[in-house]
Amino acid sequence: MFKNPILLLSLALTGAVAAWGMLDTPGLAAFSSKVIGIMFTSRGWFIMLSASVFLILCLGLALSRYGSIKLGKDDDTPEFSTVSWLSMLFAAGMGVGLLYFGTAEPLFHFKVIRQYVIDPKAADHALFVTNFHWGLHAWAIYAITGLVIAYFSFRRDCPNLISAPIHHVFGRNPWTRLVGGFSDLMAITAIAIGLGGSIAMGVFQVQSGVEALFAIETSGLELTFGIFALICLAYILPLTADLSKGMALLSNTAMAIAGTLMVFCILTGPTYYIMSAIVGGFGDYIARVLPHGFQTFTFFDENVGNWFQSWTLTYMVWWLAWSPFVGVFIARISKGRTIRAYILGVVLVPTAFSIFWFGVFGSIGFYSSLVIDTEILEVVRTNINSTTFFVLQHLPLHYLTITATVMAAFLFVVTSVVSAAFVLSMFSGGGELNPPTRTKLIWGVILGALGLVMIFSNSIDAVKSIIALGAMPFVFIVWLMVVCLLKALRKEVVR
């Protein structure tokens, strides 16, 4: 195990970030926010351009003659039914973020936008921007990374590594070894830091749920550490055994809870208001999504500029951070589908579900603010973690719904960490499909340490900028992977 330089380097790099964060959390948070500020100001245009080009490229590939190429050998057939394929896709890509941001995000944007336009327009725009962040562009980033991994591993028999396409297309020489090694290293770093953030978000969410449930307000970190310890225990155990089937079951349970919660909110909330918001949201999204992908808010004031950086750009980089992890997963479950079916399934269906989800939870938020005038905007300002629970407290059976949300958040985090430790061990072990338990456990510990660092920072903004910093180099690597794919496809069709 210690002969593998990528494993050693990646453990050293992520371990160093974790150690830095443990010893000096404010220092790490300040550093990442400063560097990310500089990167976003100078290269924000490139991030938006990349996300838009990936989306257009995805749609172009689906409609082109390459669309009929299979992700696998010509006689391979899909392993999963279309319905279970779609539900697994969605659970992998979004997870705990949906529960966390369902109501909080549209309301946060609303608070900013209402300073510029009248309230109804601000609400419309806030919902659109949220859908934009979680919609086609996000899924195009996942789809393109997953597509490259799936194409090269199933059709060209390459190992499941980010560097595999580079070696396959450009051959093995000192340059490709260097770039390939760097790509693997950056993918590992982005996944590890991104997952650390996910653990922190899950802990914040579970903690707010427990506080809402028992009507307590904790000032110290005792409850936080208790929840963190519980999550660690819950994911360390499955890492020692092969429980892939059990994990799929837990992830589907979390997804089912989230789905049921959504239906429950539609039925018990202001149903006409929610349904109208969903329909309006779809229309708005279809009409504006492509031009908005190129929107960089160049001529607006600093307030809007900061908002754009800390939400839109951060999200795009966030999806990039997750893309090697989600990409590997999406690739694995999509073997045997054509490129066309793959892209249409991965890009369109989850986007439609996201618009539905934010339509429900966003509009309930707007209803509480604009129609019945609760103090929800104040909750978003002072304690964004508890927004979802504030909404649920205003609906019937809130003990039940809050418990269900806490359980779903817990399950989403545990299943994500177990799969991430697996993918990290695979990437750092040269594409080994059955990585040794010891490596998985080491990654489990590092993920826990990174999660703890993010919890110490005690701020979702710090979590976001640390993730963005870890993922920034990956923007360039995805582009390189895309070039490899296009070259390989061109060659295949000529042949």
Partner: protein, 35 residues
């Protein structure tokens, strides 16, 4: 998160992006070892 950038740093960061885009075009157009 916005910073007043020193002009040189901004230029260098953007220049690296331009070089990268150029490199991508070159990699796409050039013939690989098997082509």
């Amino acid at each position: 998160m916005t910073f007043q950038l020193p002009g040189l740093l901004d230029t260098l960061l953007n220049l690296s992006v331009f070089v990268f885009i150029g490199l991508l075009f070159w990699l796409y157009m050039r013939k690989g070892p098997e082509e």
